[in-house]
Structure formats: C-alpha cells, structure tokens
C-alpha cells in the first residue's frame, strides 16, 4: 500500500517536473523558433557565468524578473479573488495532466505500474472538465480586477473558450465512437496494431476530419495565435491587464501548460500516444521478424515516443503561431459556430453511419 | 537761408550747415567714420563722399557747407564707386579678426561694407602688423590694427575732456593711433572713446569678452550715479546666465539728450551698474532668519501699532534716501504723515564726491531735488541718530541709506542695541544692513519704474528693465503693503496713480504725467 502511494507520488512528481520545465523551455523555444523563421538571431544577450548559451539564460532572467517585480493589486480590486484567479488558472491546467497516459504499464519487481498519474475510467471527460474550469480563472481575473478593460477582456476570452469547447467536444465524439471508450489508456492501447494491414491504427487516419476540428478548436481553447484575441499581446487589452509580477507570470505559464496539455491530448487521441508502429509487448515486428525487447526498455521507448510526439506538436503550434495572422472576433465566432460545430456534428453522424454499416 | 536739394528732396537750412547735417534733416543717411556731431570736423576718413552738381570731383559731405541752390546726389554710380574705393582702402590693412572683436555686430566697418562695399578684394600684400590688445587705461583696450585713423578719439580728448592723451603717430601706412609717451588714458570720461570709436580699435575692458553685442537687449533709463541724471541705455542679457558669471546688466551706454549729457557719460556712471547683480539683498531677513513678506510686515506693523497705542509715535523715525524715486519718497511721506509724530527725513550730511564742469556732480544722489521738493529735508538725520543712540527712538526705519558711511560704525552699533526695531530696506547689502534687525529687500533702480529730478530740476523717468531679483519689491510697494497692514488708506493702487497723486500735491509737479515726461525728461 505504502509503495503504491510512493509510486504514484513519484509519477506525479515526474509529470509535474516535466510539464513545468517544458513550459519554461517554451519561452526560449518560442523566441528562438520565431527568430529562425523570421531570419533573425533572437534574444542572446543575457549571460550565465559569462556564457550566452544560445540565449537560454533569458528564460531564467525572465523568471527572476517575474518574481522580483512589484505585485500590484488595484485599489478597488478584491484582493482575495484577484490573487486566487491566477492560481485557479494554473491549477486546473496542471491537474488535467493526471489523466494523460504517457506509457504502457511497466512491470517492476512484480508490480504492475501504470505510467499514468491517475487511472480514471473517464479520463477524457475529466480532462475536458478541468479545461472548462480554466474559464473560472479567466473570468475571475477580469472580474476581480475591477477594471472595465479587464472585465471586457475576460468576457471576450470566456466567450471564445466556451464556444470552442462545444466544437472540441463534438469533434472528438467521433474518436470516442470509434474506440468505444473514455479511458485514455484503453484508447491508446486500441490504437496499437495496423488498420487495413499497412496503416497504424491511429486516430488521425481513422478520423482525419475530427483531427482538424480538434486542432483548430484546441488552438482556440488555449488562446494561441491565430486565436489569441483574449491576450492580443501588443494590440488588445486582455483579462490580465491589472496583473503584474509572478501573478501575471502564472497566466503566462498557464498558456504554455495548456499548450502542452493540448499537445498531449492530440498525441493520445490521434497519434497513438506512446505507441510505436510495429512495437508491442511481444517485441518489434520488423517485416514479419519478431525482435524481442526487454519489457522495461519497451516501456521507456513508449515514454520517449510519447514525449517526442508531444514536442513535435509543440513545435507545430509554434510554427502556426508565427505564420498566421490573428482572426477578427466576428470571424472567430463564425468559424466556431457556423463551420466547426456543424462539421463536427456531420462527422459524428457519418462516423455513426459507417460504424453501423461495418458492424 | 540757403535752399538745397539732396536726392531730389529740397530743404531750407541755416547758413553754415554742412551737407551731412542737411542730409540728416531730410532723412538721407550718409556714411561717416570721422564725423561726429559732438566733435569738430576733421574730414579725413573720406567715406562721406557725395556728388555735388557742377563740382568736378566728389565732395566730402561733412565739411562742405551748404550753398544756395546746391544739388546733391548721394546715390549715383560715381558716389557708390567712391565709397567702395574708400572702404577698400580703409580695409586694406584691417586684420578682419571680427570673430574675436568685441565691436563686431555694432561695427561701422562691418555695416558699411555690407551696405556700400561688397567689392572683390584686390589686396594681395602682407598686412601691416601693429600693437594688439594693449590696455591703454583702466577702461580701454587698444588694437591699433583695427583702427581706421578717423581721429574721433584724438578730438574727443582734445576738445571735450581737454586732456589730450591720444595722438596719431608715424606716417603713411605705418600711421597708428596711440597715447603720448608717459600718458595713460585715465581721465574720468575715458569710456566715451569706446562709444565714439566706429571700429574695434578701442574696446571696453570691462565689457571685454563678456558677451557678443547681438545678445544684448537695450532699454532706456537714467543714471543714478549723481544728481546730473545722465540719460543712459542699459544693455542687458536675461537668457544666457553662463555669460559674465550670471550678471544681467552687461554695460551702460550714454543716451543722447541735448540738455543733460549730450553724447557723453562719465566713467563713474558707466561702470555703476554692478550693484544690479552684486551684493543684492534677495531674501527678507528677520533677526538673521529668512522670512516671508507677510510675517516681516506683520511684525513691523505690530510694533508700530504698539507705539501708536502708547501714544509714543514720536519714538519712531524714518530715514529715506535721495536714491529713491519721487514715487517711493512720496509713498513714505504719505505713510508717515498718517502717523503723527513720526519723524521722516532724508537730510543727511553730504559725502565727499568727485565733480567737474562737464557732467560729474559732487552730490551722488539722483533725486536730491526730489527730496527738497517733497520737503523731506527739514530735520537733520544726525539729530535722529543722536536720539537713537541715547535710547529715545524705538523704531528706526532706514531706506537705502548707509548709516555706517554717514555717521560711523560705532554709532550704528550703539543704536542697533538701543533701538527696539531697526529696519533696513534697500537693494544691496552694506554695513548698515548687517546691523539691522529686519532687512527688507528692495528692488534695484533698474527693476522698477519711477522718476528722478536732477540738479537742473528736470523730471526724468526710469523704467523697469530687469525682473525683480529674489523676493525684492519696489520701495513704494513695500510701503503700500505696510500701510495696508497698519490699516491706513493709500489712495492709489498703481504707480501711475501714485505719480498723479504726488504731482497733484507737490506744486511744481502739478499736472505732470508719465506721458508728458517722455524719454527726454521735463524741466519743472
């Protein structure tokens, strides 16, 4: 019993560590990737022990700056709610990771260790619930600031998030129908093997339309370009206009954490999670020859596969961000309600018909 | 009365008038270097050439008397060619060091070159070297290279001051201006040679490198150096505090007034402007501590009211100065008139002063005649001092008088201990102000409007030229403020009203206004 708790704590700590560090690295990646795409060098002036280290010290400098800046609460604001909002935001984003399976179970010392923080039967629902609760952070930030600009920004942000949640939910209904489960670990397992003999049985191949809907809606849900109207860094005033110091930093962090979460979800739902084509518990199937693999190595390969896929998604999100211009708000709403939602519904109907015909 | 036509304008002038004077009367300007209305005619610079009809050659306008029916042309080709040639000749040996020359900006060589010269220079030889930057007296710097040998300075020292220091030495191109051996230019009017020098040969040592002349603003005033009341122009700079260590007044220049000082001014008056910027009282001092006007005046008013209540107003005395304007004196007189018993007198023992027949007067106060006119010279101030020393005076208010200079330091020291309230009011610090209990900063005479009456009984106006320094206020304003504190009625609100009230009361001034006095004064 005590070992179960220790193992769960270790896994939770590992996930926590990984996500937070990746979010921190995101600031550096974001800077460097945009610079390379735009024929620039990117931030490279901060030094650590006299070394520029490709500008990595900038991330540390950012963190130091965030922590040392004045934490300002507007005179009329509710200090408790104003302080609570960023914590809520980052909390709901972090706990959602509990449902993500990042590897097959590992047999160690006669114990079967699930490489998942919490084995939830309805992990998908749980994650969506947590994502939805993130809206509270946003609304609270705008409301508790007692600023018209912040409140309007919060309204804008929550309207966008709620709208796209519908499309997001409807979009992945197809995936759920195909794999017939809400347990993400089960869903990943179901994606092992080949479809029609040559294609990995990944969601992207079985549900391509759902993938695009999911990708679009997820970008909007995480408030990233081209859907970054709530923040609109240099142009529009967002819901966290009255925040400074690390509280602002937490909203900033939430964004990156959510991006990673969405990358994890996309990997899990559409790219086979920790699956590697041809690799199974039995061994690696190399054109009919079965090469035996140590179970521990097998589990680690799964984790690495999952991590790589997540990183590729993060990279893709950044590439999209630095390529596309921002939508206008009416365009954003029209896209969500008039295009994505009907297409998602149609996708569900067609998937259902096909499923009914095939079975 | 001969009739003469100059550039088509006909005028009838007195016999003996020269063409240059006649031209001035019709408003035609003829360039000149050696000609000066206050000096004899030398006719040696040759720039004033004019074309007289039926004369074979160009004539010099300064030395050609007007004749009946004379027709003069000052703009013909012949004249301009002549002027150009003369200028080229005068400038042949000129060093052209305008950048370092204090005269540049008000130099007739520069002005006339731009107006009448503009020739292509043909002079290729080496220029003559002559002494440069030679201090020839306490006030004047000589640069013989810049001289055009107009001899104005020679004639000035010969004819006006009759000291005869200057002479032209050597011959031909080696001729140069200089002093006779063993002489120095140290007469009392030496500064005037700087004014009359049309070029930069004679420059002012006091003004040397202080400022460029185009930085200066000009305003008319009257010298307060003595009872002559010479008319002056004040040249000042307000926007360049880095010049001359922040001084505002850069120099004084005489202003032409045919009846008072003509073109001249003595050196004492010329360099008397430093009191405007040096040793000024800027803050009110209340027993050594800086105070505000309201507090200081309230304290004085309380003391006066206490005396009044005790029916002891005869223990208060006011000693104004003949340095004050008519308006200031009148305001003081009106205030003391309303406090029966208070002694107010400006009659002080005369201090020894330089005087001569030209302009300098022994009485170094500009408004002694005004004091007499306002009958403020009835009681001798020495009796007040004696009374104060013996402890009979409780409040002594001194306006602009340096008691230490007049009565000796010992007496002032004693009376400062005896008198309950010793007020000194004035623009500059002096020994007396250091003994006073209350020191009130008054505006310098260049910082206020008013009128002086000179020794000829001529009423002349001074104008506010500079902003009041620090907390200082004009004397009449201080008096008015104190009167208000005492609950006395003044009867006037502005300075013109004050003057009109004074003029109505004092017989010789009856009906006089500022407009009537004008810039040149009004004899009463």
């Amino acid at each position: 019993m005590i070992w179960d708790i220790v193992i769960k704590l270790v896994i939770a700590g590992a996930v926590f560590f990984f996500v937070l560090n990746l979010a921190g690295a995101h600031t550096w990646l974001e800077r460097k990737q945009s610079a390379v795409m735009q024929d620039r060098i990117g931030a490279n002036r901060a030094t650590l022990f006299g070394q520029r280290l490709l500008g990595i010290p900038h991330s540390i400098a950012d963190a130091v700056k965030m922590f040392t800046k004045e934490d300002f609460i507007p005179a009329n604001a509710d200090p408790f709610l104003h302080t609570l909002a960023p914590f809520l935001s980052v909390f709901f984003a972090m706990v959602a990771f509990a449902g993500i399976p990042f590897g097959d179970h590992l047999m160690l010392g006669g114990r079967m260790i699930e490489l998942q923080v919490a084995k939830v039967d309805v992990a998908l629902l749980y994650i969506f619930a947590m994502l939805s609760l993130g809206v509270y952070g946003v609304i609270l930030a705008g409301y508790a600031s007692r600023s018209n600009y912040a409140l309007l920004g919060a309204m804008r942000a929550s309207a966008q998030m709620i709208s796209y949640e519908i499309a997001l939910g409807a979009g992945i209904a197809g995936i759920v129908m195909i794999y017939g489960t809400l347990d993400l670990q089960e869903m990943v397992r179901a994606q092992g093997g080949l479809a029609w003999g040559f294609l990995p049985k990944w969601g992207i191949f079985l549900q391509p339309v759902a993938f695009f809907i999911f990708l679009t809606a997820a970008l909007a849900e995480t408030k990233r370009t081209p859907f970054d109207l709530p923040e609109g860094e240099s142009e529009i005033i967002g819901y966290f206009v009255e925040y400074s110091g690390m509280k602002f930093g937490m909203f900033f962090l939430t964004d990156f954490v959510e991006t990673i979460l969405v990358a994890c979800l996309a990997t899990t739902l559409f790219f086979g999670g920790w699956q590697i084509p041809g690799l199974s518990v039995a061994g690696f199937n190399f054109f009919g020859h079965l090469i035996a693999v140590n179970p521990v190595i097998y589990a680690l390969l799964g984790v690495m596969s999952f991590t790589l896929k997540v990183l590729i998604f993060c990279w893709l999100f950044m590439a999209i961000r630095w390529t596309l211009p921002r939508f206008r708000y009416d365009q954003l709403m029209r896209l969500g309600w008039q295009y994505l939602f009907p297409i998602a519904i149609a996708n569900v109907v067609i998937t259902g018909l096909i499923l009914a015909l095939v079975k | 009365m001969p009739k003469i036509t100059i550039d088509g304008k006909t005028i009838e002038v007195a016999a003996g008038t020269t063409v240059i004077q006649a031209a001035e009367q019709v408003g035609v300007f003829i360039p000149r270097y050696c000609y000066h209305p206050g000096l004899s005619v030398a006719g040696n610079c040759r720039i004033c050439l004019v074309d007289v009809e039926k004369a074979p050659k160009l004539q010099i306008a300064c030395n050609t008397p007007v004749a009946e029916g004379m027709v003069v042309n000052t703009t013909s080709k012949k004249v301009t060619d002549g002027q150009q040639s003369v200028l080229e000749f005068l400038l042949a040996n000129h060093p052209l060091d305008c950048p370092v020359c204090d005269q540049s900006g008000e130099c007739d060589l520069q002005n006339f070159y731009m107006q009448y010269g503009r020739y292509d220079p043909r002079f290729e030889e080496q220029k003559n070297k002559k002494p440069k930057a030679v201090p020839i007296g306490p006030t004047v710097m000589l640069d013989a290279e810049r001289c055009v040998l107009c001899s104005r300075c020679v004639r000035f020292t010969d004819e006006i001051t009759k000291t005869g220091e200057f002479g032209i030495f050597n011959r031909g191109e080696k001729a140069e201006i200089g002093l006779y051996p063993g002489k120095t230019l140290d007469n009392d009017y030496s500064g005037n040679v700087v004014d009359i020098c049309p070029v930069g040969a004679l420059t002012d040592r006091d003004f040397r490198f202080k400022a460029r002349v185009w930085y200066l603003s000009t305003a008319p005033s009257v010298c307060n150096g003595c009872s002559q009341g010479c008319n002056i122009d004040v040249h000042y700079v307000l926007d360049r505090p880095h010049l001359a260590d922040g001084a505002r007044v850069m120099r004084l220049k005489p202003r032409y007034n045919a009846d008072v000082n003509q073109w001249w001014i003595c050196d004492e008056g010329r360099y008397g402007f430093k009191s405007a910027d040096q040793d000024r009282i800027e803050k009110i001092s209340l027993k050594g501590a800086v105070a505000a006007w309201d507090i200081a005046l309230t304290q004085i008013a309380t003391a006066v009211t206490k005396l009044k209540a005790a029916n002891q107003l005869s223990a208060m005395a006011v000693i104004p100065s003949a340095q004050l304007t008519i308006e200031d004196l009148y305001a003081v007189k009106k205030l003391t008139d309303q406090l029966p018993g208070v002694v107010c007198t400006a009659q002080v023992p005369p201090l020894p002063g330089k005087s001569d027949d030209l302009l300098m007067k022994a009485d170094k106060n500009p408004n002694s005649a005004g004091v007499a006119l306002l009958e403020l010279d009835k009681t001798p101030a020495s009796s007040i001092i004696e009374a104060a020393v013996s402890g009979q005076i409780k409040i002594l208010w001194v306006i602009g008088q340096d008691l230490v200079k007049l009565f000796g330091e010992e007496k002032v020291k004693q009376l400062a201990q005896k008198v309950e309230l010793f007020i000194y009011q004035g623009p500059n610090t002096n020994k007396t102000s250091s003994y006073a209990h209350v020191v009130l900063p008054a505006s310098h005479y260049l910082e206020k409007d008013g009128t002086f009456i000179n020794v000829q009984n001529r009423v002349q106006r001074i104008g506010k030229i500079l902003p009041a320094l620090g907390d200082s206020k004009a004397d009449w304003q201080i008096v008015a403020a104190l009167a208000a504190k005492l609950g006395l009625t003044a009867g006037w609100k502005s300075l013109p009203e004050l003057f009109v009230a004074a003029a109505a009361e004092v017989k010789p001034l009856n009906g006089l206004t500022y407009e009537k006095i004008g810039q040149q004064g009004f004899t009463v």
Binding site: Q33, A35, V36, M37, Q38, D39, R40, I41, F212, A319, I320, W322, T323, L324 | D97, C98, P99, V100, P131, K132, A133, V134, P135, I136, G137, P138, L142, F169, N170, E176, G178, L179, P181, K183, T184, R205, R208, F209, R212, W214, Y215, R240, H242, L243
Partner: protein
C-alpha cells in the same frame, strides 16, 4: 465610391490551403536558417548569414563620412584649441545647447579663447549649423560617434575635455589638456598651463599697472 470586396472562391474560403502555403514559406525559412546556424556552429558556411539583422554593437552599419555625428573641437598644431570663442555657434544654435564663456588669451594675436565650452547633447538637434557658422574650422561633427546615452541629463553635457578628445566620453581623472580652462570636472578650477605650450618667461601681462603704451 463604394468599395466592392472580391468574393472569395471556395478554395480560399477553406483557409486550409492558404494556411499550408503560409506554413510552407515559414518552414522553408526555418529549416534553411536552422541548417545554416548548425553549420556556423561547426565552423562551416561562414560566408552566408542566417539572419538579416545586424548584431549591434559587435557589427555596425557603414556610416557616410558626411553624416553629422557627435561634435569635436579641433586643435591647432601646437595643441591648443582652434576655437577663439567668437560664439557664432552659440548664436546660430537653434537648440541653444552650446554655452561658451570666453577668456583673455596670453597671445594678443589669438586674443580670445573659450574658458568654457559645453555642448548639451540632450538638447542638440544635430543640425550642423555650428559647424557651418564656425569661422575657424574649430568645431566638426565627424567623429562617427552615434551611441550617446547617459543615465542622467547632466551626463549628456560634454565639456571641453570630451569635445577636444572625441574618444573620451567619461571625464578624465587628470586633465591632460595643455591650456587653462574652467573645467567642470575639476569644480571650475583651472588646471594645465600655458607654459607647457608657450614656454616659460616673461609674458605680456594684462594688468594695466605694469603696462606702458607702445607706439
């Protein structure tokens, strides 16, 4: 006039093709630049740059020689300033950033020289009028120094030290200039000596008392 918008075709309305073409462009830049960056790390392809930006201050743009940059005061051959303190530059200066105080020069053929010559670069508009007004070629704006920044307004003021020596931005500890002048960093005390320039010996005094008029 009404502006008529062009109807989008179905293909354009889909967005996706346009998104992909945009991504294609940015990806091309990304991978090409990434490749060059990596090659630079390995010491290869030094001639081709992965960025169009200039890495200031290590790299600098070429400046035209006639560009008006920070001022300097010129020196005569013997090392004294050319400036004679005529204040032409101070007069013409539209920003009123030049302050000159003139003094008596021991050589009567020079006569005048600046005891104080300050330029407030915080006010200067770099119009170059001072250079054109100067009759002595004493001031030039050809130092090519552009990066003039300071932490206070006072530090933007150049005194004669810094103007005579264009490489000098920070005040000197010891004044090495060979002429007396009121020096802001020495509390206005006069340092240096004319003797270093003109040699020791009886100099023409400016005191009237010891002067005899010459003819």
């Amino acid at each position: 006039m009404a502006i008529r918008k062009r109807e989008l075709t179905f293909w354009e309305k889909l967005y996706l093709p346009q998104i992909f073409s945009g991504l294609k462009l940015t990806m091309k830049h990304f991978f090409v630049n990434l490749f060059i960056h990596m090659a630079h790390r390995l010491g290869l392809m030094k001639n081709s740059s992965a960025a169009v930006t200039i890495q200031y201050p290590e790299e600098r743009r070429w400046l035209a020689p006639r560009l008006r940059t920070r001022h300097r005061l010129m020196l005569r051959e013997e090392g004294t300033p050319r400036c004679v303190g005529c204040m032409m530059c101070e007069t013409i200066c539209p920003a009123k950033c030049i302050t000159i105080v003139a003094g008596e020069h021991p050589d009567p053929n020079v006569e005048k020289y600046p005891t104080r010559f300050d330029i407030d670069l915080g006010k200067c508009v770099y119009c170059g009028y001072c250079v054109e007004a100067c009759p002595e070629d004493a001031i030039r704006m050809d130092t090519q120094i552009l990066d003039i920044a300071a932490y206070s307004r006072d530090a933007m003021k150049l005194d004669m030290h810094e103007l005579l020596n264009p490489t000098l931005r920070k005040p000197l500890k010891e004044c090495e200039l060979k002429f007396p002048h009121k020096c802001a960093i020495h509390d206005g005390k006069i340092t240096g000596s004319w003797d270093a320039v003109y040699g020791k010996g009886p100099k023409k005094s400016n005191q009237f008392e010891s002067e005899t008029p010459s003819h």
